[in-house]
Amino acid sequence: MDYFIELLFSGLSRGAIYALIALGYTMVYGIIGLINFAHGEIYMIGAFTSFIIATILTILGFPGLAIILLAGLAAVIWSASYGYTIEKVAYKPLRHAPRLSALISAIGMSMFLQNYVLLAQTSDFLPFPQLVPDFDFMEPIAHIVGSSDMVILVTTTVVMICLTILIKYTKIGKAMRATSQDRTMAMLVGINVNRIISITFIIGSSLAAIGGMLVASHIGQINFYIGFIAGIKAFTAAVLGGIGSIPGAVLGSVVLGLTESFATGYVSSDYEDVFAFSLLVLILIFKPSGLLGKADTQKV
C-alpha cells in the first residue's frame, strides 16, 4: 500500500509539472491555433536561469528562502522575455501564412534555442542544487512523499488558482477568451489582439519557468535537452485533456502523470517515454478532441 501511495504522489507531482507546461501550450493554441514547439525550450531556459541565479546567490551566501524566491523570479522574468521575443520574431510575421509555415518556424525556433543553450552553456548534465529543504513536519511520511513533491503540488495548486482568477474575473482574461473565440470580432470591439497574444505568451512562459525550476530542483540535474521530452509530454497532456481547454490541460496532465508513474512502477521503467507516446497516439486515434475538448467542426 505504501508503494501505491508513493507512486500516486510521484504521479501527482509529475502531473503538476506537466500541467504547468501544458497550460502554456493550450493557451497559445487556444489563441493563435499554433503548437508552440519552442515552449519546451522556454521551460529549459527557465531551469537554466534559475540554476545560474541560484548558484550565484548560494555563493554570495543568501538564505535558502531568498534563493528560492529570487531564482524563481529571475526564471519567470527571463522565460517570459524569451516567450515574448520568440512570438515577435518567429510567429508574428507568419500570422496569416499557412499553418504549416508557423509550425515549421516553431520547430526551427526550438532547435535554435536548444543549441543556443548548448553552445553558450554546456552539453553536460549540470547538478542542480536542492532548493527545497526537507521539512521537519514532513518527517513521519518522508519515506512516501518527499518535501519537494509537496512543494510542487502546493505551488502548482496556487498557480492554477491564480490563473483561473486571472482568466475568469479580470479584464485581460476576458479579452483573452474573446480573442480565442474570434480574433477578428475581438479586434472589432476594441481589443488590442497583438497585446493579448503577447500577454498569453508571457503568462504561458512564466508558468513553464516555474515548472522548470521546480522540476530541476526535484530531479537534481539539468541539461539543454530536457525541454524536448518535457515539451512533448506536456503537449500530450494538453491533447489528452482537449487542446485549447485550460481545465482540460490540468486534467490531462494529472492523468498522464499517474499513467506514467504507475506504468513505470508496476510494468517497466525502460519504456517510460514509450507509455506517454503510445497514450498520445491512442487518444488521437479514439478521441482526438480530448477528454474535455469540444469537437472541432469546420465551417466551409
Partner: protein, 412 residues
C-alpha cells in the same frame, strides 16, 4: 537611409537582446567548485550582432512586403518570377548540356577525388534521396512528418537484423526494407491521417521516438544501445571488393538511386496522384468535393515517402556497416526537414540543392560544424519568415496563353 528613428529602434532592440541573453550568454557557473565565470565579451558580441541583425530583419520585412504588393497587380510577374535555374532547365538546349555535364561530373567524381570525398558525397546523395522522399510527404501532400527518421531506421534495422538472424543479402533486403517501411507508414498513417496537420506532426514525432526507444531497450531483438555491427557492404554478383572499391560501388549505387528517384518523383508530380496531392495541400474540403479520396491519397503519399526512407536506410546500414539507435534521433528528422524547407517545398531541384548545401557545407567548414544545428534552426525560422518558397521554389502549374494557345511546358 539610416534615419535617427531607425537607429534608435535598432539600439533598443540591441539593448533588449543584451538583457535577454544575459544569464545564458554571459554567466557560466560551476555549482560544485562554486565559481562564477563572467564572459563580458559575449555581451558585446550580442549587442553588435543584434544591432546589425535588426536592420537586416527590417530590410527583409520591407522587401517581403513590397514583393507581396507586386504580386497583387496582375500576371506580369509570371516570367520574371522564375529563377534562372528553372529557365535554363525549361530550355532543352541548355537542359541537355547541363544534365549531361552533371552526369559526367558525377561519374568521374570518385576517380578524381579521394575516398574520403567520395564517402562524404555518398552521404550527401543519401540525404538527397531522403529529402526527395520527405518532399513527397511535406512538399507535395503538405503533411508535416517529423518522424521521418523512424522509417529510415526501419529500413536500416531490416537489413541489419535480417542479415544478423537469417544471413539475408543486401539486394534481397533492399526491397524488403523499403516495403516494410512503407507498411509501417500505412499502419501509422491509417489512424493519424484523419487528424489535422499539426496533430500529425506530433504523432509522427512520437512514433519516431518510440521506434528509437524500442530499438534501444529491446536488447534481445536489436542488441540495444550498442547497435548491430558487421553488416556487409553491398555485394556485386558475389565479387569480393576491397574497402575502397566497395565505397565507389556504393557511390554509383546512390547515383543510380538518385537518378531513379528524380525521374520517379518528377513523373509522379505530374500524374493524377501528384496533382491530387497538391490540390489536397491547398484545400482539403474543396478537394473532397471534387471527388478525391482524401484518406487514400494521403496514405499513398505517406507510404511512398516511407518507402524511400526505408530504401536509403538499407543503403545506410550497408555503407556504414554499423547501426545503433543513436543514428536515428529526432535531429536526423530535423535535418531532412531543413533540407526540404531550405531547398523549397515541392521543388525537386531545390531539395537537391538544399541537401548538398546542408550536408556538404558543414563537412567542409569543420570550424562551423559546431554551429550546425543552431544554423539549421535559424534556417527553418528565417526561410519561413522571409522566403517560404525556399531557395529554388517550385513553379505552380500555370497555363500561359501564347499565340498558338499552347500550354507552357513545365519542369520543376
Amino acid at each position: 537611409m539610416f534615419t535617427f528613428e531607425e537607429l534608435k529602434r535598432s539600439f533598443l532592440v540591441s539593448i533588449w537582446f543584451v538583457f535577454l541573453t544575459f544569464p545564458i550568454m554571459v554567466i557560466r557557473v560551476d555549482s560544485i567548485e562554486k565559481t562564477v565565470q563572467w564572459r563580458w565579451m559575449n555581451m558585446v558580441y550580442v549587442a553588435i550582432g543584434s544591432f546589425i541583425l535588426s536592420f537586416v530583419f527590417r530590410y527583409m520585412m520591407q522587401r517581403k512586403e513590397m514583393k507581396s504588393e507586386d504580386n497583387g497587380d496582375g500576371d506580369k510577374k509570371d516570367k520574371t518570377g522564375r529563377s534562372f535555374i528553372h529557365r535554363w532547365l525549361a530550355d532543352p538546349k541548355y537542359r541537355n548540356a547541363i544534365l549531361g555535364s552533371l552526369l559526367a561530373a558525377a561519374i568521374i567524381f570518385p576517380h578524381v577525388f579521394s575516398t574520403y570525398q567520395t564517402s562524404i558525397m555518398t552521404t550527401a546523395l543519401m540525404y538527397v534521396v531522403l529529402g526527395l522522399g520527405l518532399n513527397i510527404v511535406v512538399g507535395l501532400a503538405g503533411l508535416l512528418d517529423l518522424g521521418y527518421v523512424a522509417f529510415y531506421a526501419v529500413g536500416a534495422y531490416t537489413y541489419a537484423l535480417l542479415y544478423h538472424f537469417f544471413g539475408v543479402g543486401f539486394w534481397v533486403a533492399l526491397p524488403i526494407g523499403g516495403l516494410l517501411a512503407a507498411l509501417f507508414g500505412i499502419l501509422l498513417g491509417i489512424p493519424v491521417l484523419r487528424l489535422r496537420g499539426d496533430y500529425l506532426a506530433i504523432v509522427t514525432l512520437g512514433f519516431g521516438e518510440i521506434i528509437r526507444l524500442v530499438m534501444e531497450n529491446w536488447g534481445a531483438f536489436s542488441q540495444g544501445p550498442s547497435g548491430v555491427s558487421n553488416i556487409p557492404r553491398p555485394s556485386f554478383f558475389g565479387i569480393d571488393m576491397s574497402l575502397d572499391t566497395a565505397l565507389v560501388y556504393t557511390y554509383y549505387l546512390m547515383i543510380l538511386l538518385v537518378i531513379f528517384t528524380i525521374f520517379f518523383v518528377n513523373r509522379l508530380q505530374d500524374s493524377r496522384l501528384g496533382r491530387a496531392w497538391i490540390a489536397l495541400r491547398e484545400d482539403e474540403i474543396a478537394c473532397q468535393a471534387m471527388g478525391i479520396d482524401k484518406m487514400k491519397t494521403k496514405l499513398v503519399a505517406f507510404s511512398l515517402g516511407a518507402f524511400w526512407a526505408g530504401i536509403v536506410g538499407v543503403i545506410f546500414a550497408a555503407k556504414t556497416t554499423f547501426i545503433s539507435p543513436r543514428s536515428f534521433t529526432f535531429i536526423e528528422s530535423a535535418i531532412i526537414l531543413s533540407i526540404v524547407v531550405l531547398g523549397g517545398m515541392g521543388s525537386i531541384i531545390g531539395v537537391i540543392f538544399g541537401a548538398l548545401i546542408l550536408i556538404l557545407l558543414p563537412e567542409y567548414l569543420r570550424a562551423l560544424s559546431e554551429y550546425r544545428m543552431l544554423a539549421f534552426g535559424a534556417i527553418l525560422v528565417c526561410m519561413m519568415v522571409f522566403r517560404p518558397q525556399g531557395i529554388i521554389g517550385s513553379i505552380r502549374r500555370t497555363y500561359t496563353y501564347q499565340n498558338r494557345k499552347k500550354a507552357d511546358g513545365e519542369v520543376s
